[in-house]
Subunit: 474 residues, 2 copies
């Protein structure tokens, strides 16, 4: 017997599945018009939505207005991808007469939308990684209907955005099943959605624990499906002594802002600061502590996240290899920023010390030499970003640490801080496990659309089957 | 305590890992020269290798010489990909001043080789899916060292090809660890290889049982890694009455040849023939049975495969929904070809009837109408290929069955038979589970190289880091 919650999920998935074939064959103009319409729908209700979001998330109107702008920009960006015919891109090999291996039939490599996508909203971006966020925009552009699992951290906002979206879909004469919404905070509800036979792929951004449970459910289906999950990232930053000597104070201020931005609740929050033994490194630690000390934060997104943060801090406070560098103060609505120093060898050898602590905290590690700094990066193993400060000159330490950073990260920055992820063609938001369950793919930027397409080679196809690809951008 | 077999694996993986950084940074010219050299090495020893392969596999000199030609062609094809700079392809977004979402840093999306690849050889292509097959060629071109797990069906050939490859690698002054070879027929040996922390990805072609066990091992690692596995495919073929009326006899001969080719031991062997209720379909079944009846096959590749084939036949013979259409004859070294008819509804409802039987056998299904034929395809769910005969006109039955074929297959053919997979740019050899564990990727054709690369976005990178991409093809 299924529960009412499961019945509701089954119903929404069935509605999505009923639209899948039609949407897979929809014109690029239809997709673009829908995505543009959704962007406009958000903007038309921006003031009310931001007010609702602020009540539920405490993120503040400035940040939330910026996030609406980003989300609308992203919807229009994927509309432009559809209009440019990206989902209809193809590779053609003309037939060659004769025996193989040189002789061959005519082959045209095209893309097929995967089908209904289950999309799990994140708590920390109530617009950009939620109902009309990047996953939804890229899946719709690719030709896939979406079933959104609303995040329990902003349920009223999720319903309001979904209602606006339904209005846009209806006004354009499209089936409402294109964008479904299901609720239910339980793990079981999420697993039920992932296990539904009509769900063809999953997009997830959230915690390691929740995400890996859903990933396992996707793999344990009779027919496993692609699971695009972002499960966590500790985002190392390596700063060489030279730049710290020249710009230490300014960099400390910049970094302190990044560690505490959004109360540290960013996937790309810099969690591990790696320095080399040097007086400039010691001075930078003091500068960073000074810069962090007075900062206050807003309340955390949910009670569960506050508890998770406290649990992580408790582990650091109990660890003999970790030494607190800041006395937490009592000001601010949210938790005070924290900074610890961890012994390099202990960090390398003890995976518990490398766990992500989601919130306004970072750890500093002083490596005795470049080899040990490389070992620290290698121990991290998988991360969304790695930031390299002071790497302007291509000397051997810079080359060596850069090589290692590339092997563990999806984005390597040479300037600035990792928080803030531009929506562009070249963006890569994903990396080796646990940063992504599918490190070949990105969840931000226009390449995100490719997650929801699968290549199909058409062999000796008649003209009628190839026609959509010849009329590519209309 | 590790066993001697495990110690040997650890040693070979360590040698591969020691070359990973150097090979990831190797020039495109170096990679191309190695791949060309390996092709030449195979050709220089072709007669001796074919003779050894025939002893171990019974595939016959004609087929094996063709397979060497294909393997050398493929190595040279990936050399050309390297020479064209494909692994250095990049996407550049120039910086835009101002606030996000429009303002952005400079981003360059490049590719990073994954690292040491564990490659599991297949039994049925002792050259093209073995030591120097497509997985090895594409991984080396991508910049990844390879550890080959030799197939126990052709151990002497595997050693001989590996020795030739080691000679080529040494002659070019490259590290021998670039291409390792491990043996050991046990499941435990394979799992040990997949679980090795220095292995970064797995390529597998083989049985569902073996492949899914290794896939689970890859997922159960502390840090799961990409697993590119081809686990099975039953390759449906739909023939509409019109074409059967016109060309039934010739098509029956063509299809019988495909079913029995290589004793039916092809991933792409057509296993399910779907027909619509029509006198032409009934006549075609007779024509196909007549064409199959006199054909003989060579011995199967291994004793285990012969037992697997007999087990699958036994299941079909016991199934009340299956009816034999051929009396097996006693001629030939290998098993006689077999043909069964299965009731459409039973096939749709009973997954046991849809299991791949590797060998010279096919089942015929007569669907009462197009909707039921679609349901048969949907029940198959994931397959490397789907073949559509008589789809020249874009009428509604053709459009509908074509749409369904696209949702389940990696390659859709409109002419000819699915056995024989051209190595081209547009080729796609992979499809929804179980045809591939990563249906976004292909194991044949030049896109196979992309499996072993992962995108990395370089943000505000200095000139020295971007230099290799600006000098792309040298």
């Amino acid at each position: 017997m299924s529960t009412p919650e499961q019945q509701r999920i089954d119903q929404v998935v069935a509605q999505a599945a009923a639209t899948a074939r039609q949407w897979a064959q929809s014109s690029m103009g239809t997709r673009a018009a829908l995505l543009d319409g959704l962007a406009e729908g958000l903007e038309n209700h921006q003031a009310a939505l931001v007010s609702l979001a602020d009540e539920e998330t405490h993120l503040g109107p400035a940040r939330l207005n910026g996030e609406v702008a980003r989300t609308a920009f992203q919807l229009r960006g994927f509309a432009a991808q559809a209009r440019a015919g990206v989902p209809l891109a193809c590779v053609e090999d003309a037939a060659i007469d004769g025996a193989p291996p040189k002789g061959r039939p005519a082959l045209t490599r095209v893309s097929e939308p995967l089908g209904p996508v289950a999309m799990f909203s994140a708590s920390n971006f109530p617009f950009a990684f939620s109902v009309l966020g990047g996953d939804t925009a890229s899946a719709l552009a690719a030709g896939c209907p979406v079933v959104v699992k609303a995040h329990s951290g902003h349920p009223r906002l999720s319903r309001a955005v979904h209602e606006i979206a339904q209005g846009v879909i209806a006004a354009q004469g499209l089936p409402l099943g294109l964008l479904g919404l299901v609720e239910g905070a339980s793990r079981a509800a999420g697993v039920h959605l992932v296990e539904h036979p009509a769900i063809a792929a999953v997009a997830f951004t959230g915690s390691y624990q929740g995400g890996s449970a859903l990933w396992r459910a996707a793999n344990e289906r009779a027919r496993p499906i692609p699971f695009f999950g972002e499960l966590g990232s500790i985002n190392p930053l390596v700063a060489l002594p030279g730049i710290l000597q020249r710009e230490g104070a300014a960099l400390a201020t910049l970094l302190a802002g990044s560690i505490t931005q959004g109360c540290g609740q960013f996937c790309t929050s810099p969690g591990v600061i790696i320095l080399l033994e040097h007086p400039a490194s010691d001075r930078f630690i003091e500068q960073l502590a000074c810069a962090l000390q007075p900062l206050t934060t807003h309340a955390m997104l949910t009670e569960a996240m506050r508890k998770g943060f406290e649990h992580g801090l408790h582990n650091l406070e109990q660890a003999s290899a970790a030494r607190p560098l800041l006395e937490p103060h009592a000001g601010g609505e949210g938790p005070a920023p924290r900074l610890f120093e961890i012994d390099a060898l202990a960090f390398i050898n003890d995976s518990a010390l490398r766990e992500e602590v989601f919130g306004p905290v970072a750890v500093v590690i002083k490596a005795c030499d470049v080899a040990q700094a490389n070992a620290v990066l290698q121990a991290i193993g998988g991360t969304l970003t790695a930031t390299l400060w002071g790497f302007e000159q291509a000397d051997e330490p810079a080359r060596s640490l850069y090589r290692t950073a590339r092997t563990i990260a999806g984005r390597v920055l040479f300037r600035g801080v990792p928080t803030g992820v531009a929506v562009t063609h070249a963006q890569q938001h994903g990396g080796p496990w646990p940063a992504s369950t599918q490190p070949h793919t990105t969840s931000v930027g226009y390449a995100a659309l490719q997650r929801f397409l699968r290549p199909v080679a058409l062999q000796d196809a008649p003209a009628w089957a190839l026609q959509p690809y010849q009329e590519r951008s209309q």
